[in-house]
Amino acid sequence: MSTAVTSAAKVPEPIATFTATFIIRRFDPEVDEEPRWQDFDVEMRATDRILDALHKIKWEQDGSLTFRRSCAHGVCGSDAMRINGKNRLACKTLIKDLDISKPIYVEAIKGLPLEKDLIVDMEPFFDSFRSVNPFLMVAGPTKDGKERVQSPVERARFDDTTKCILCAACTSSCPVFWTDGQYFGPAAIVNAHRFIFDSRDEGAKVRLDILNDKEGVWRCRTTFNCTDACPRGIQVTQAIAEVKMAILRGKP
């Protein structure tokens, strides 16, 4: 046993650093007429995250670089941004997974009003979220003061969509959302899905009705950008398709 563990163990190589170039789309609403690109050279290690690079820039080079972040390990949803053209969480994108022989482009997510540098206004996003009744709708508490019963199979039915951290990577990657921002967007649908397929919930009809809207599920053109962008690996397009089918059926 002991030898198995030691031999299987990873021996980290001595830490090599190198210089990576970041081209960041800056926008200071108090100064700039329009966004501009700015280059930064940063000393990095392969295992560093893009968030580390942003921090290094902010803490060592330019304190005015502005972005949101909190948990730094992909569970709070603060730092969705566009890295080399794709929506990613800065804290979940490692330098080693990018081609650093070329500069790394970082810009704010698309389709939401740009506020400053990498920060966008999230209110329209949360508005959509709020409008799908994202909460358990039931007549009242249980009579015996205990939990509602739910079998493991029923629980597994909506497991995938409970993982959402509301980071907006999906919604802001959706070409339909970019067009006019009226579409509810994948994140709202994911959160509706989470309740529509929860066996305890009694509000599926209401939610299906909301999503059977001009700006609802039918606007999804199955471009899969959302699924590719989701840092939680949620099968977003699949979830949307399931909601469409539920609307056609008239029940979950």
Partner: protein, 604 residues
């Protein structure tokens, strides 16, 4: 700003560029504790929740393993055993009446969450499933018990989401990305009474005064005083710092928990749930070393003991890796299907951040700064204490920023998610009762003066120092000197450093001079709180000349019940700039409440 209640918004006015709002209850912090309080308060009083982050970004969402409650869904269990485990886990520094409340109300707290929609994992017959966790035992320590209710390894995420969802349902007023920087106190009949909080709006740089009858602090922990930590960048202890600067006491600040299994080098947490599901800690030679330290509970001993054992293994040269400086968490013997069902997130962290495949390889881990046992002292009703016996009327605290104290000198895993729900609810309920009869406390002459002073101080700085550099020095030193093992020498080194850092802090330069989304400015202010809290922590730790729970003094390795079976109460009494910590910090003590469990030797 999110305001779902327009009626409340219209109540706000602007005078001299400062916004004034009025509510019955203002909750500072939208983590688990804050939102749980909001759900109690919202329907009964005009309530606002102010948070420096969007609610769902709060660090409650990072909690993984579970929430304890003696539901006895899978095996015999009862709340009395849970109380005992909590008391013993906290090395008898726990207030036992509070622990009893915690354990008793745990059951309702879990059921409440389930009824609100939380998708717990289920047993085959459809009840809430439960798993083992460190220090939770049956029959007073005879064997590990399955007490932690969980939703895969994202229990905190599901709690945070569920609470947020219910706040949406209730139409709670949120003021998001508003940084509360001061608590306004007004002298009434010779006593300081809270009348408002002052917040800085990130988006605009404008100040808001929230006048309120009751104020609940739920601002979370301050793990960022350390470098290696499982805590978020935003956990800078602002709330605790604000209370401190008001001259109100902080309790048991010397006790900080180091979680045994952070990803080596990063501090990202791998939940104890891994060990609850059967993971094993091994040293370089593959030995299951915990068998030597705690033969009964082995890897599921409380965190202070496991972390200390790990540090000992490394010190004695049994660490793994080229520098022998980490250990392994081994789950290779678990079925991949079980791992996928119960531990999907943490295995992904190992893959993403260390490039290790947990199905087949052991994961390099190290203890990581995790949880503040200490904080704002409160009664069992979440009322903030002014001293050992009196409370501050209308001021409440709950969650990690508070110290009830249910965790004593070492918190048991899964007891914090419980804490935020039980005492968050209590804070909300009691505030509602209070505001029914209480009047508004008049505002003082210039309520924003305190915040203006802070802003001027950091803004005016055209010095040469960088915030990032000062913070890094503090964190490095805390990791080196105030971590698992402490001595008077190491601790006083930090005290001296803080003194120097304070001088440099006055000389900082901000590069962002703007008003909108000035995170440069806020990081500077947060650093001020970090310095304050690190200083109290270290000062309290120097004074506690014994080893207990999370506080291990190598120069005083034994627990000393005769002299130190008491809570530390620290007060800011003078100018924090004064050279000696002793010049501006006064330490006092508060007796521990002991009901059923007289202190005993702690063996597992």
């Amino acid at each position: 700003m999110t305001s779902t209640n327009t009626e409340a918004e219209s109540a706000s006015t602007m005078i001299d560029g400062v916004h004034y709002h009025q509510f019955d209850i203002v909750i500072v912090g939208a983590g688990g504790a804050g939102m749980r309080a909001a759900i109690e308060a919202g329907p009964h009083a005009r309530t606002a929740v102010i948070s420096k982050l969007y609610p769902t970004r709060s660090h409650t969402g990072a909690a993984q393993g579970g929430m304890a409650a003696a539901l006895a869904n899978v095996e015999e269990d009862n709340w009395e055993w849970h109380t005992y485990d909590t008391v013993k886990g906290g090395d008898y520094l726990v207030d036992q009446d509070a622990a009893e409340i915690l354990a008793k109300e745990a059951i309702d707290a879990v059921i409440d969450l389930e009824n609100m929609g939380l998708p717990f994992n289920r047993t085959p017959d459809g009840k809430i499933d439960q798993r083992r966790f460190g220090g939770h035992t049956r029959e007073h320590g005879s064997a590990a018990v399955r007490r932690a209710c969980f939703a895969a390894d994202r229990t905190g995420h599901m709690i945070l989401q569920t609470l947020f969802q219910n706040c949406v349902r209730l139409g709670i007023n949120f003021f998001n990305e508003f940084y509360v920087l001061d608590l306004v106190m007004t002298k009434v009949d010779g006593v300081d009474q809270p009348s408002a909080v002052v917040a800085y709006e990130l988006a605009t740089g404008e100040l808001h005064v929230f006048r309120s009858k009751a104020i609940i602090f739920a601002t979370g922990g301050y793990g960022k005083i350390y470098k290696t930590t499982s805590n978020a960048h935003t956990l800078t202890g602002d709330g605790v710092g604000i209370i401190w600067r008001k001259g109100l006491p902080l309790e048991d600040m010397e006790f900080f928990q180091f979680h045994p299994t952070g990803l080596a080098g990063l501090g990202i947490l791998l939940s104890e749930a891994a060990r609850g599901e059967g993971a094993i800690l091994r040293n370089a030679s593959g030995e299951r070393f915990m068998e030597r330290y705690t033969p009964t509970l082995k890897d599921l001993a409380p965190r202070d003991i496991v972390s200390r054992s790990m540090a000992t293994e490394i010190r004695e040269g049994r660490g793994a890796g080229p520098d022998k400086d980490y250990l392994y968490l081994d789950i290779t013997h678990l079925e991949p299907a079980v791992i996928d069902e119960k531990l999907p997130d943490i295995t992904e962290f190992a893959r993403t951040y260390l490039g290790v495949e947990p199905y087949t390889e052991p994961v390099p881990v190290l203890p990581t700064a995790h949880y503040a046992m200490g904080g704002i002292p409160t009664t069992n009703n979440a009322e903030v204490l002014r001293n050992n016996t009196e409370t501050v009327k209308g001021l409440y605290a709950a969650g990690e920023c508070a110290c009830v104290s249910v965790h004593g000198s070492n918190r048991l895993g899964t007891n914090s998610l419980l804490d935020i729900n039980v005492f968050g609810k209590r804070a909300g309920k009691n505030a509602v009762e209070y505001v029914k009869t209480a009047p508004f406390v008049p505002l003082p002459e210039n309520p924003t003066a305190g915040v203006q002073a802070i802003l001027d101080m950091v803004r005016s700085g055209d010095g040469t120092e960088r915030v990032g550099a000062i913070r890094k020095e503090l964190q490095d030193s805390m990791d080196r000197n105030a971590q698992i093992f402490r001595t008077d020498e190491s601790l006083s080194e930090v005290t001296k450093l803080i003194e120097r850092l304070r001088a440099r802090y006055k000389n900082i330069a901000l590069q962002d001079k703007g008003k909108r989304f000035n995170t440069d400015l806020l990081e500077a202010i947060e650093l001020g709180f970090l310095l304050d809290l690190a200083e109290v922590l270290v000062y309290s730790a120097r004074n506690r000349k014994e080893s207990r729970g999370g506080h291990m003094r190598e120069d005083y390795p034994e627990r000393d019940d005769k002299n130190f079976l008491k809570h530390t109460m620290a007060y800011l009494t003078g100018d924090p700039e004064s050279a000696e910590a002793g010049d501006h910090i006064r330490l006092d003590f508060k007796p521990v409440v002991i009901t059923n469990y007289p202190p005993m030797e702690r063996k597992y």
